[in-house]
Amino acid sequence: MSNEIVLEIKNLSKVFKIYHEKNNTFFEFLLSSFKRSKNIEHLGVLKDISFNVEKGKMLGIIGSNGSGKTTLLKIIAKILVPDSGQVSITGKVIPFLELGTGFNVELTARDNVIIYGLLLGFSKKEILSKLEKIIKFAELENFVDTKLKNFSTGMYARLAFSTAIEVDPDILLVDEVLSVGDESFQQKSFKKFSEFKNNGKTIIFVSHNLPQVQELCDDVLWLKNGHIESYGEPDKVIQDYRNSS
């Protein structure tokens, strides 16, 4: 396996502004300009984070709620802009932060897959050529032209997952989405992850499911209150994490 680094994060920091009195309307804004008090608190969500991920590795990110896991993923996905530090990425990143982003229940499975693919940055031709494979992986051959509102939760989840996985990213960001679907579909998804890794793709996996992380990941990063508490072998990091709480 090559040791090419596909994701490099250096001294990354992110501060959120917490407004105690947020002006959500224009009139409130006009009124508040007469008042003096400006209540803004700064909350450091990520503090000086640095790490590298090699090609073909699966990195698990663990930590309690509010430790900055999702913020970190969002910065890697360029949805949020960091306040300082650098993120360098080689290849195409597919964020998979939620099942079925941009899905519209009034549209058919086919229309939704096309829109989702376009949102992720693929050309219409590329998506149409993958459509059949996506539907097949989701086991929804008989429902291509059914509106999503008539889908069960499981069918919906399968369609969303298959679409994300078939669009062939170099780096896949997964946030807490594998808890859906039945046993056999989860097994299928895990198999897909291993296949991914064997093809030299990189996966970053955020989860609270520790056994899953332990089984799947090559390295684990433990975030605590916005800084890296520990980074390394899954067995060791997860052991430390368990002991701490």
């Binding site: 969002k74 802009v81 964020p95 982003t101 941009g102 519209n104 549209l107 829109i115 376009l118 949102l119």
Partner: protein, 258 residues
């Protein structure tokens, strides 16, 4: 600037797909839904026609066509800007999950408004036949006018959509502005009816010029005044550039503010 345009051009199939889906959803994939887009302006047209031909006698030449054309232009502008205004907040769930140029949502909303106008324009065609009215040669310039209105709508939408992210009541303020704009534009009346000092004030509204130009090109065969064209182009150009600058400046912060 050019790199941004290139990037957006590469995303054109997404812009079109979003706009088409929007149209599909609006008409719920049904034929009656499609028919509604004809019925709505037709209904308003009927009411206005009744009031202004029977109650208040209008002296405008080919008044039904005059009225319908003004309505179509006005609807395109008001729909595009209202949909453009809420395009970022409406698509917050996508913007917070996928990195994209956010102009795409504003553009596709305005494109939806443009497509709806094209559908209504078909109704205008039916009226032309019904009145056996043959448009003058200047009607060939009409598409240019439509493009100009589209660019103006996009410029205004870029500004309003950002404003609406920060202040959620911009939406309601804009509805009031549009309501006023409807009566301050020569849709049901003609600017000629006013004394010159009132007319000068009404002509500050760029939409007034656009609707007058539409009437001239499509119905009366007059070329618009150079001063009118210049005024409209300067207003559109400055709003568009300002919109792009404000949008570019605020774009990266939208993800957090939504």
């Amino acid at each position: 600037m050019t790199s941004i345009l290139m990037e957006i051009w590469q995303k054109r199939s997404l812009v079109f797909a979003l706009a088409l889906n929007d149209i599909k959803l609006r008409y719920k994939n049904s034929f009656l839904g499609f028919l509604w887009s004809f019925l709505e302006p037709l209904l308003i047209l009927t009411v206005l026609l009744f009031v202004f031909t029977h109650v208040i006698k209008s002296t405008i030449e080919s008044y039904p066509l005059y009225l319908l054309l003004g309505l179509i232009i006005w609807y395109m502008f008001s729909r595009s800007t209202s949909m453009g205004l809420s395009s970022l907040t409406d698509n917050a769930h996508i913007i917070q999950k996928i990195h994209l140029r956010k102009e795409i949502f504003v553009l596709s909303s305005c494109l939806t408004g443009f497509m709806m106008m094209l559908i209504e324009f078909a109704a205008f065609g039916v009226f032309l036949v019904a009145f056996s009215f043959i448009p003058p040669a200047t009607a060939f310039l009409f598409p240019l006018l439509l493009i100009e209105i589209l660019i103006l709508s996009v410029g205004i939408s870029l500004l309003l959509s950002i404003a609406n992210v920060y202040f959620r009541d911009i939406k309601f303020i804009w509805q009031v502005v549009l309501q006023a704009g409807f009566f301050l534009s020569p849709i049901i009346y003609s600017l000629d009816m006013f004394p010159s000092d009132i007319r000068t004030i009404l002509e500050l509204n760029p939409i007034s010029h656009l609707i007058t130009i539409a009437h001239d090109l499509m119905l009366y065969g007059n070329l618009p005044a150079i001063s009118s064209i210049l005024y409209v182009l300067i207003i559109t150009g400055s709003i568009f550039v300002l919109g792009c600058l404000v949008f570019k400046n605020k774009e990266s912060k939208i993800g957090e503010e939504l």
